[in-house]
């Protein structure tokens, strides 16, 4: 049987979500011994990722999976690879234009909107909310913020305190402590990732107020968000799927000459204490 | 010590040297700059551990692995280059490496008491808690000496201890040395000052070019013979004769009402309302004890304390505000400081870089370096001042102390100054080279330079100066002419007695 080499360029492995993505890919690929995967990690450096793509092209891989750090700067190298006839699957973040084979990703803005809607419903349209934002120079942070704000517009939900916790749990805890010191009547914390929500919970617990506040996070990783929901720490976690399994599926169909759709939008799920045992509930 | 040999990077600096030291004697180690004296005693003190030959101590062969091992046998060293930790307090410096401890906790009270007692015996009035670096060089040297005297020394090695001391402090040291000798302690003493050597010596060993020339009882080795051993030729006349001044020569440097704020911040002023004049071709000596303010005067004139000085200053008739050393250099001043390690040289850099640094504006007027000119200038001074070095690319840190001093002098001559401010210019310089420097000073003054000279060596001061100003507490207490100056008169004025000359 013919074997294929797939190059996988991950933009960084500092975030558990991306570690999970690699793990998902690995797990799916394990079922297909004809696939040989090479993983590279760009350490959050755009230019390193660019170099990696160039290296993969030079090494002549059969297919490229790129989870890009940035859209604009990584468009040209990916386009160059694509023009050379190497199929490219773009995972998670978009590139500019259409010089790639297939894009697989979830929509952060949509998830933010869903979270917002869920929150409006849960709080019956009114109450003080704290927003702990992810790194606001990154697109996921910007989108999770924008979607959420869309949904709570013109409701009684008021964001009384917002801070950039840069995806980091200790920072989230720190910021939440400040929020708690200032506002005695916080109803809910919306954090852009689950560790952020967990950090906020730790702060509230230390202040003895964890029972009065709901915590909502995003990502829904099994060992983080879903665990926290199961433990009753989070009121909800919205899955941001890694697309690892879908990427391998797409790769197989491309390599077998049956190109998939140009764009695959991943469905995400909401995990709440009520549905966690059933495996979550798909978002509309 | 027998058959001692030592090389640095393939260059042999000691070859088959021997030294025998008896209890209760003062043994002088003499030799020119770079003869290898400091190297020899560093071997004895366990600092250089790679050498050939053997050392026996009380009849037993020893080979020290580190300074602690030598110290444990009672071998104490006062090094040529100060080895105090400037940031630490006097007390901590005194006990450094030999702290009194109980379960490795410091016994601070005992330490303080012992230190206070020692300082009192030495007649030093120091604040034990002040940092050592805040004291002037001479007092730092005294702290260094006190440090070596703390505890029981069996062998005390003094490498040019008096090079930064005034007469009075040196006397205190000599008295102490005599007491130690009484107790059976053996002393090795290195100095370039002939008066000291013959006052203290029981026996003398002479090194030349890293080789042992001879050892002899002091009373059996006349001064001229010893000098011949050291330099390998006769040296006539200790001080060259100074030509008479041209009468009515114009003033090169005129200072009126000059005050310098005390840089240490202890008093208000280090120099107060001082006036002086240096004429063309004249050497003006500045005498004074520790803290008289004469070093601060030179630094102040040179622009080292911008904003800290008041008064009028004229160089060759032109007003000069002492704003920065660069301005002073441009105006034709040059300052040889008394601490070549801290303020004179950049130890890691080559001789050439050090030598041309102050004159760089002249040597590269357009801002572009002119390597060939620099080389020529460096080569010229290496020859003129007979600096012992492999090449001008050698780092100055690897030169012997005296040769380093010559590099400092060269550096300032290279600026082609009109007025030289010299603070202990012959510090650590050997007798032959001193002679050369004296002759050079005569030469320079003959060419029309003016010199303001600080020196703690009375004979040097008396022999070289055309006029002597004695300072005390930041003021001039006496002005003596060459003819009227006597050591006693100078001392009296230096102690603060206003004397009319």
């Amino acid at each position: 049987q013919k074997s294929f080499t797939i190059g996988m360029s991950q933009c960084n492995l500092g975030e558990p979500w991306r570690v999970q993505m690699n793990a998902d890919i690995k797990k799916s690929a394990a079922a297909h011994p004809e696939l040989k995967l090479i993983y590279k990690d760009a350490q959050n450096d755009t230019l390193k990722q660019r170099a990696q793509i160039e290296e993969f092209v030079a090494a002549g891989v059969d297919l490229l999976i790129v989870s890009p750090k940035e859209a604009v700067p990584l468009t040209p190298p990916v386009a160059a690879a694509f023009k050379k006839g190497i199929p490219v699957i773009v995972l998670d973040r978009r590139l500019v234009g259409d010089q790639f084979t297939c894009f697989i990703g979830a929509d952060n803005r949509r998830i933010g909107r869903a979270a917002g809607r869920w929150i409006v419903e849960k709080l019956h349209g009114t109450g003080q909310v704290v927003e702990l934002k992810g790194l606001m120079t990154s697109t996921p942070g910007q989108d999770r913020n924008a979607g959420f704000r869309e949904s709570i517009k013109e409701t009684g939900i008021k964001v009384v305190f917002e801070a950039d916790m840069k995806w980091l749990e200790p920072d989230a805890r720190k910021e939440m402590e400040s929020a708690l010191a200032r506002f005695p009547d916080i109803k809910l914390v919306y954090a852009h990732n689950d560790p952020g929500a967990h950090g906020a919970w730790l702060a509230a617990k230390a202040a003895g107020r964890e029972k009065d506040i709901l915590f909502v996070g995003i990502d829904g990783l099994p060992q983080e968000g879903r665990t926290y929901v199961k433990q009753g720490i989070l009121a909800a976690s919205f899955e941001y799927p890694t697309g690892g399994r879908e990427a391998i599926d797409a790769a197989l169909s491309i390599l077998n000459g049956k190109p998939p759709a140009k764009e695959i939008t991943l469905k995400s799920k909401a995990f709440t204490p009520e549905n966690i045992e059933k495996g979550g509930e798909e978002l509309p | 010590m027998r058959g001692i040999g030592k090389s640095f990077a393939g260059v042999r600096v000691l070859d088959d040297v021997q030294l025998t030291l008896y209890a209760g004697e003062t043994h002088i180690l003499a030799g020119e700059n770079g003869a290898g004296k400091s190297t020899l005693i560093k071997i004895l003190a366990g600092i250089y551990t790679e050498f050939t030959g053997e050392i026996s101590f009380n009849g037993r062969p020893v080979r020290f692995k580190n300074p602690q091992a030598a110290s444990a046998l009672g071998i104490r060293v006062i090094h040529q280059e100060l080895s105090l930790v400037r940031e630490m307090s006097v007390l901590d410096n005194l006990f450094l490496g030999r702290e009194l401890c109980r379960y490795s906790m410091l016994r601070r009270k005992t330490q303080r008491e012992q230190a206070a007692a020692l300082l009192q015996r030495l007649g030093l009035d120091l604040d034990l808690q002040r940092t050592a670096g805040s004291y002037p060089l001479g007092l730092q040297q005294m702290i260094e000496i006190a440090k070596a005297l703390l505890g029981d020394a069996v062998v005390l090695i003094l490498d040019e201890p008096t090079s930064a001391l005034t007469g009075i402090e040196a006397e205190k040291l000599f008295a102490f040395m005599a007491a130690l000798k009484e107790r059976g302690c053996a002393l090795i003493y290195i100095s370039h000052k002939m008066e000291e050597i013959y006052r203290l010596a029981d026996r003398i060993t002479v090194l030349r070019d890293g080789r042992w020339i001879g050892s002899e009882r002091a009373d059996a080795l006349p001064r001229a013979e010893m000098i011949r051993w050291m330099v390998g030729r006769e040296l006539t006349g200790h001080f060259p004769a100074r030509p008479a001044l041209v009468p009515g020569a114009p003033a090169l440097l005129r200072v009126t009402g000059f005050s310098v704020a005390d840089p240490a911040g202890k008093r208000d002023f280090a120099v107060r309302d001082l006036s002086l004049e240096v004429r063309r071709g004249e050497i003006v000596g500045l005498a004074g004890l520790q803290g008289a303010g004469n070093s601060e005067l030179l630094l102040g004139l040179f622009g080292a304390y911008p904003g800290g000085v008041r008064g009028l200053m004229e160089v060759e008739g032109k007003r000069l505000t002492p704003g920065s050393p660069a301005m002073a250099i441009a105006a034709g001043l040059a300052l040889v400081t008394n601490d070549r390690k801290q303020t004179g040289l950049i130890a890691d850099h080559s001789i050439r870089w050090n030598l041309t640094l102050a004159a760089l504006r002249r040597l590269s007027p357009a801002g572009w370096l002119r390597p060939r000119r620099e080389r020529a200038c460096a080569a010229d001074y290496l020859e003129r001042l007979a600096i012992r070095a492999a090449s001008s690319d050698q780092p100055v840190a690897t030169l012997s102390g005296g040769n380093q001093q010559k590099v400092v002098l060269s550096k300032w001559l290279a600026t082609q100054p009109r007025v030289l401010l010299l603070d202990e210019p012959t510090r650590g310089v050997d007798i032959g080279a001193k002679h050369e420097i004296y002759e050079l000073m005569n030469q320079w003054t003959a060419q029309g330079l003016g010199i303001l000279l600080i020196t703690s060596e009375m004979p040097e001061l008396l022999a070289l100066s055309d006029r002597i100003l004695v300072m005390h507490g930041g003021r001039v207490t006496a002005e003596l002419s060459r003819r009227t100056a006597t050591p006693e008169g100078i001392m009296r004025a230096a102690m603060g007695e206003e004397a009319a000359a």
Partner: protein, 334 residues
């Protein structure tokens, strides 16, 4: 006479590093009073939480103070926090070691890492900056390697890939708790203990004197019989030990071991040391000042946080205020 002497003393005291550091702290506190965020600055919990937040940095700063006084620097402390947080969590949660054994193992590991850096400096004469930079990179790699890149928490992956949930060991909650009627966080107490230990070492032990001596003038110290290399080894070892302590505190506060924990903590910790007036040139400083430095940085961050200042403005203000605060110190150096 008496009065002028008093004034002279007063003037000297004002110039002392301690007074300067205190002044900087007071200025920051005044800022806090001005921007009190609707009175949040006046709540005790604000100060308590500030002190908790700065504790991990403060513990690192204690070790760094020693290394910096010894004339070195240690950039690896942040990575060691991550490494030890992971190690501690692995040992207690996955391997089920008793707390005491796990703590001992971590302290040992931290010390070993510190001694290794120290060995590179003392024995191979590497520049501290580069030796500890290498250690920083290496320790981060090690943390990722032993944790497999994932956070080590009470969610334990089974052989089949599913997660099972174990109880968080009691030691985590114990370290994460508050004592004295809920008034002081345990990690803050740990910080104070580290501070006291460091102060004792620096002021009272012979070895403390050696630390100052080698930082002030290594050559002179050597000539005076100070065991320079051993002193360096001990200084870096102590710094590693404190990093391990900080790692334990970090893990306890996060209830997990994050291999990314402590990234760039070294910069904050160094800033604390310098804000306290300890000179990076070595030979001068003390840990009492480090406490003031920690409080200054802690309040600065807290005030920016309770006022919900935006990220960009926060960074610009932090930069500016660090400079202003350190300029207060400048009179203290030479």
């Amino acid at each position: 006479m008496k009065r002028s002497e008093l004034m002279q003393q007063g003037r000297q005291w004002i110039r002392s590093p301690f007074a300067r550091a205190l002044l900087a702290l007071i200025c920051i506190a005044i800022l806090g009073v001005i921007f009190n965020a609707d009175g949040a600055f006046y709540k005790w919990s604000t100060h308590r939480d500030m002190f908790r937040q700065i504790s991990v940095f403060g513990i690192l700063a204690c070790g760094l103070t020693v290394v910096i006084i010894a004339g070195g620097i240690d950039l690896s402390v942040g990575s060691l926090v991550g490494l030890n947080a992971v190690l501690f969590s692995m040992l207690t949660i996955h391997c089920g070691w008793p707390a005491a054994a796990a703590i001992a193992a971590c302290l040992l590991a931290g010390t070993a890492a510190g001694v290794s850096s120290g060995g590179l400096v003392a024995k191979f004469r590497l520049q501290p900056f580069i030796a500890t930079l290498a250690m920083m990179v290496f320790a981060r790699g090690l943390a990722k390697w032993i944790s497999g890149g994932q956070k080590v928490s009470s969610a334990v992956q089974q052989a089949d890939g599913a997660y099972s949930y174990v109880e968080t060991p009691a030691i985590f909650n114990a370290l994460n708790a508050r004592i004295w009627h809920d008034n002081v966080a345990v990690v803050s107490v740990v910080f104070l203990v580290c501070l006291a230990v460091t102060a004792l070492i620096l002021a009272r032990l012979r070895w403390g004197r050696y630390v100052y001596a080698i930082g002030g003038n290594e050559e002179a110290a050597r000539l005076s019989g100070v065991p320079v290399k051993a002193t360096q080894l001990l200084a870096y070892g102590l710094c590693g030990l404190f990093s391990a302590v900080a790692g334990l505190c970090q893990a306890a506060q996060e209830l997990q071991g994050d291999p990314e924990a402590g990234v760039s903590y070294e910069l904050t910790a160094i800033a604390i040391v310098v804000m306290g007036g300890t000179s990076l040139a070595g030979g001068r400083g003390g840990v009492g000042l480090t406490l003031l430095g920690a409080l200054t940085i802690g309040y600065l961050e807290k005030i920016l946080s309770i006022n919900a200042v935006g990220e960009a403005a926060r960074l610009m203000l932090t930069g500016t205020i660090i400079v202003v605060a350190v300029i207060f110190q400048k009179g203290a150096k030479r």
